[in-house]
Every structure is written in structure tokens, then in C-alpha cells.
């Protein structure tokens, strides 16, 4: 599929591919604090089965992931690792920020060590508020992201940045 490499496709094909991408999101779970437990419960438990949405929470590395859920408190010390994780993901890539801490620092709004929002490091597509968010809220965030994927032009998401191995 040489056509897909720059993301420029004829419109009907784009719509078809968007639907395919929407229902095959491989999500990397980037759990940093207590929200990681909630994310695991929302993604892994049979009650809130996330795979019915086509979200597959088992990539072995960020290089196989389409979506990363940053859940929990991002500290200044962790920030370089979060940025590196994002850089390792192949285009087109999406980010969900889960919970108050990842959104804006949350209860650690005055801390000396907490990054006040993961959007200071990487671009965020969907913010899921809550401390922690209910599983339904996280799934709603995924549905919102899927709506965005369905209606977008893939070429615009295509940064074309090569994956740098260092």
C-alpha cells in the first residue's frame, strides 16, 4: 500500500480506511498512578469490555500502538519518558489524557515535581476528566476519539516524522 504512506487517498478510500482504523485502535496503556488501576479495570474487565469498541489493549510496545492513554500523575522526572513514548509511536497517533492529574495536575496543582498537564509535553486529543474517571467516562472518551477518526482526513494527521531509534 504505497498509497497509504503519505496518507493521501481518494475520498471513498479514506472513508473506508477511517472506519477500519476507528474500529482497530491498538491502545498502549501508559499507567503512571492510581488511574492506571482504573484504566485496567475499564479495559480489562468483562463488565466494561472495551474490545467491543474495537479497542485492543495489548500492544507489546508503543511502536505497535495507535493510541496511548496517559493515566495518572505525570512528574517532571517522568516527562522525558512520556515524550519518548509518543515519539516512538507510528503515525497517525492519538493521545487520551485520563484523569485530573494528566489533564492539569489535579490535586497536585501546586506541587514542585508534577507536570501540570501532559499536554505540555505531547498533543492530547481527548481529555477525560475525573479523579478517577468512571469506566463509562473513559469509554465515552474513546467513542469521541473514534468519531474524530471517522471524520478526519488522514493526511492531516500524517506528520511524516520517522521513528528515531537512539
Amino acid at each position: 500500500m504505497g498509497l497509504v504512506e503519505n496518507g493521501k487517498l481518494p475520498k471513498p478510500l479514506t472513508a473506508l480506511l477511517n472506519i477500519s482504523r476507528k474500529y482497530s485502535l491498538w491502545v498502549y496503556q501508559w499507567g503512571l498512578a492510581c488511574c492506571a488501576i482504573e484504566m485496567g479495570a475499564a479495559f480489562g474487565s468483562p463488565r466494561y469490555d472495551v474490545m467491543r469498541l474495537g479497542v485492543i489493549p495489548f500492544p507489546a510496545s508503543p511502536r505497535q500502538a495507535d493510541l496511548v492513554v496517559v493515566s495518572g500523575t505525570v512528574t517532571d522526572k517522568m516527562a522525558p519518558a512520556v515524550k519518548r513514548l509518543y515519539e516512538q509511536m507510528p503515525d497517525p497517533k492519538y493521545v487520551i489524557s485520563m484523569g485530573s492529574c494528566a489533564n492539569c495536575g489535579g490535586p497536585y496543582w501546586d506541587s514542585y515535581s508534577v507536570t501540570k498537564g501532559v499536554d505540555q509535553i505531547i498533543p492530547v486529543d481527548v481529555y477525560v476528566p475525573g479523579c478517577p474517571p468512571r469506566p463509562e467516562a473513559l469509554l465515552e472518551g474513546i467513542v469521541l476519539l473514534q468519531e474524530r477518526i471517522r471524520s478526519e482526513d488522514m493526511g492531516e494527521r500524517w506528520n511524516g516524522d520517522p521513528i528515531v531509534v537512539s
Binding site: K77, P107, W109, D110, S111, Y112, S113, K116
Partner: protein
């Protein structure tokens, strides 16, 4: 049983521990407090800090090192307390210091907790360190596990541990400047923004809300 225990408060094991420490340290043992059947605290001179660790390990059987940390007893110069919603803009006189159990003399108090796993006894050791240049011998010769605890106390309080083999940042990023757990460390977010959580607080049903905005008092 309780009344008998209260009538004759005696704790031979803990009293013996304090006596052993006093014998080992001499004047280095500054103060001690025993709550019979509860716990024991001792305060030693900063010069006797390492000697206290060695004596606890070798003569009192305190082979289990629990933790080492520090306290900055100076009140916040920014007027920060449990109820304040915003920091004062300028550092002002923090007021007098108050110390906890066994008292104190200086701004910083180093404290460590060690246990005897055979008898189950534990002891909290404290040492006063001056505010201008807190410096003390490392406890690593006595308890190797103190290594990371001392690194944490060093980066959070700026306490220098003489003889520490690797005194570098443990939790903070490498380029971090300042000692964030010191009371005079400014939290810049608090300067520009009141505590945002207060907007979420609603009165409980039945609480007096007449001092509030007056809503609901019309009837």
C-alpha cells in the same frame, strides 16, 4: 488490667534501651521519652548520630532499619497552613518554632526509626541540625539501607551526609534546584492562584449557610 498498668507505668525493656544508649553515648544522649508499653523516643547530639546508630545496632539488637527522614520545624514564612488558600506574596517572619516529642533546639531534626525484630521493640532517634548548614555523619556504616533515605533527605531538605558514597538526586530530576520540603521553598503556583479546590466544596445538609450567599433563606 488497664488500671493496674496505669497505676504502675514501667517499661523495663524500653528503659533498659535508653540506659544502654546513655552508657554508649554519654553526653551525646540529649533527651529521651518512654511511653510505657507504647514507644520510646531519644534525641542525640548531631556529633553522636553515627555512634547512636552503631550502638543501637550492636548493643540493642536493632538490626532492622525502618526509615530515615527529617523535619523542618520552622513554620512556613509564606503563611501556608492547613486552611490558607493562598500564599503570602513575601516571605515574612515565620514565628517561633515548636518541636514534638523530646523537644528540640534547631530548625532541622533528623529522625530515624530502627527495630529489634527479635523483641519487637522499635525506637525513634532524632538529632538537631542547625538551619544554616545542616550536616551530619552518614548512617551507612551502621545501616547500609540508609543510603537511599539519606539521598532523599539530602535532596528534599539539603542535609549534607558526610561520607555518603553517592549523594545525588533520587526522586527529583537531575537538574532540579532547591530543597522542596524546606518550609521556605516557594511553591510558585500558589503565588498566582488560590487553592482551586474550594469551589467544589458544598455545605453539608443542616450546616449553617446564613453566612453564605443568602440563597435558600428567602422562605
Amino acid at each position: 488490667m488497664d488500671t493496674v498498668a496505669e497505676a504502675a507505668p514501667a517499661d523495663e525493656a524500653r528503659d533498659a534501651l535508653v540506659a544502654t544508649l546513655g552508657e554508649a553515648l554519654g553526653d551525646g544522649l540529649v533527651a529521651s521519652e518512654v511511653q510505657p508499653g507504647v514507644d520510646v523516643w531519644v534525641r542525640v547530639a548531631a556529633d553522636s548520630w553515627l555512634a547512636a546508630g552503631v550502638a543501637l545496632r550492636d548493643r540493642c539488637g536493632m538490626s532492622y532499619f525502618n526509615f530515615l527522614s527529617a523535619i523542618d520545624w520552622q513554620p512556613s514564612p509564606f503563611g501556608r497552613d492547613m486552611d490558607s488558600q493562598v500564599d503570602g506574596p513575601e516571605a515574612n517572619d515565620p514565628g517561633p518554632m515548636e518541636w514534638g516529642t523530646t523537644g528540640g533546639e534547631a530548625r532541622f531534626q533528623l529522625l530515624a526509626r530502627v527495630h529489634n525484630p527479635v523483641t519487637g521493640l522499635g525506637v525513634t532517634v532524632k538529632a538537631d541540625l542547625p538551619g544554616d548548614r545542616p550536616e551530619v555523619d552518614s548512617w551507612i556504616p551502621a545501616y547500609a539501607g540508609a543510603n537511599w533515605h539519606e539521598r532523599e533527605a539530602w535532596e528534599m531538605f539539603g542535609i549534607d551526609f558526610r561520607g555518603h558514597p553517592n549523594q545525588v538526586h533520587l526522586y527529583l530530576p537531575g537538574a532540579f534546584e532547591g530543597n522542596p520540603l524546606r518550609k521556605d521553598y516557594p511553591l510558585l503556583a500558589r503565588r498566582i492562584k488560590p487553592w482551586p479546590g474550594i469551589v467544589d466544596v458544598e455545605l453539608m445538609p443542616g450546616d449553617d449557610d446564613s453566612a453564605d450567599d443568602g440563597e435558600g433563606d428567602d422562605a
